[in-house]
Amino acid sequence: MENQFKIVIRDFEVYYGSAMALKGLNLSIRPSQIFAVLGPARSGKTTLLKSLNRLTDLIFGANHRGQIFIDGQEIYGENVSLPELRRRVGMVFDLPTALPMSIFENIAYGPRLKGIAGRTRLGEIVEASLTAAVLWDEVKDRLHSSALRLSGGQQQRLCIARMLALEPEILMLDEPCSGLDPISTASIERSLMSLKEKYTILLVPHNIQQASRVADRVGFFLGGELIEEGPSEEIFTRPRMKKTEDYISGRFG
């Protein structure tokens, strides 16, 4: 029964010190879909994403309860390789964070960490990733110039390409279009739609409209709890919980 789900989250909770960030979470996510993590600020969305690749481990004072299974394997179990997990579960943050290196080196960074070193091989990976992120045409002539000179939208697509270079299975994007102009936003949304065949995608949308445009399923979070979850059409037109309805119709958040 669990085989049809890529990610299974069971009774999961996260604390920062004594403050609870995620409460009693039970959620299953199917592969080859875009799952939108919706909700106002401080509802635990980023915490959820960072728990899936255990970046929360880096935060001092963070601890958790419960379990998360990816492909049936418990990611908080013993003998789990963190670098391996983070390569399988890639993440793009809300602010474009290009490393202070050339475009080529930014994309090649992940593969190099894994041990891939040949110039030709790396070149192939870089081209493939940039193409998948719809950035190749714009930068193919200046691969060795500094990534910091790219515009915000280009840098964000760079970050997506960087993530794709490791051939992950799950993609997580935390408000990837915040601060970007409508054209960049549209191109990123387009790439996400084309990527969802191969990957499982978790997206924290910038606003409700974005979620309704791209998401297959939606989970509504409030104050660290999952209020409601279902196909996006249902959530947006016939939500079951009052809180969900209030949020969607703009009464708060």
């Binding site: 880096l58 670098p83 390569r87 960490l113």
Partner: protein, 277 residues
């Protein structure tokens, strides 16, 4: 009659201005004095010949080698130790008892006067470890002296690297050491280099600790175990023993020029690094 506030203000302005100006003037006068007499005496032969007749004639080539050797030993030892400590403090621990102890030790070490380092170097390296008056003893002592400087600047440099860089590296599957080696250190490099240059400057000018640990032989050294004289020590001996004022001026001028170069490079690096960040 009450003195008006504005009058007081103007007086204060003038007094302060004069004080500041005269302070700087005296400081530059000091440099000028030595350079004026010494610069004309600096020709190529001065740098290439060793001292003769106890320093009354010849040049300072052996002291240049001495200064160089001592500085190299000090840097080679202090830099890995210092940068390692800084990495430990910033990447491997949080504010804890261990980090407080290390910081306390570093702060204290920074305040120890050079003559005490000299005494220590003498009893520990020269006598206890049997290295004798040598480049090795002197270099190790100087390494201890510049260690706090390197730790401090390295830590500042590492601290200034944004957390987001590290988060990206970990997120892409990097281990702690990979993140340090590929992201933190390369970006902290200019800051660390500045600290190293400051250490070099200190080593070049240090006299008390050097005399007590590296000796004062002005002959060319054969090995790391030979005693040597640095430029600063040579300058001191010439001046104090009254051997030759001419030679003293020349050596002093050479010393000042060297320090000027080192400091200018360090400042340029700092400017460029701060400008970039």
């Amino acid at each position: 009659m009450k003195i008006s506030r504005h009058f007081t203000q103007e007086i204060a302005r003038v007094v302060i201005g004069v004080a500041a100006f005269s302070t700087l003037a005296v400081m530059f006068w000091i440099l000028y004095q030595v350079l004026r007499e010494g610069l004309p005496l600096l020709h190529l032969s001065f740098f290439v010949e060793p001292p003769r007749e106890m320093g009354r004639a010849g040049g300072i080539s052996s002291t240049i080698i001495g200064t160089l050797a001592l500085t190299v030993v000090a840097i080679v030892i202090a830099t890995p130790l210092g940068v390692g400590t800084a990495i430990f403090l910033r990447e491997y621990t949080r504010e804890s008892r261990i980090s407080r102890v290390i910081r306390f030790g570093t702060d204290c070490l920074a305040g120890v006067p050079s003559i005490i380092f000299g005494l220590f170097g003498f009893v520990f390296f020269v006598i206890f470890l049997g290295m004798g008056w040598s480049i090795l003893s002197g270099g190790l002592t100087l390494a201890a002296m510049i260690l706090p400087t390197i730790i401090c600047t390295a830590e500042e440099a590492i601290k200034s690297i944004p957390y987001s860089f590290r988060e990206v590296s970990y997120g892409l599957g990097g281990t702690r050491w990979q993140t340090i080696r590929r992201v933190v250190l390369p970006n902290a490099f200019p800051g660390i280099l500045t600290g190293v240059l400051l250490g070099v400057g200190r080593s070049v000018g240090e006299t008390a600790a050097v005399i007590l640990t590296a000796g004062s032989s002005f002959l060319m050294p054969d090995s790391i175990f030979s005693p040597i004289r640095t430029m600063a020590v040579h300058f001191y001996i010439l001046a104090r023993e009254g051997i030759s004022m001419e030679m003293a001026y020349a050596t002093g001028a050479g010393l000042i020029i060297l320090i000027l170069i080192i400091n200018t490079v360090a400042n340029w690096l700092l400017f460029r690094y701060v400008h970039r960040g």
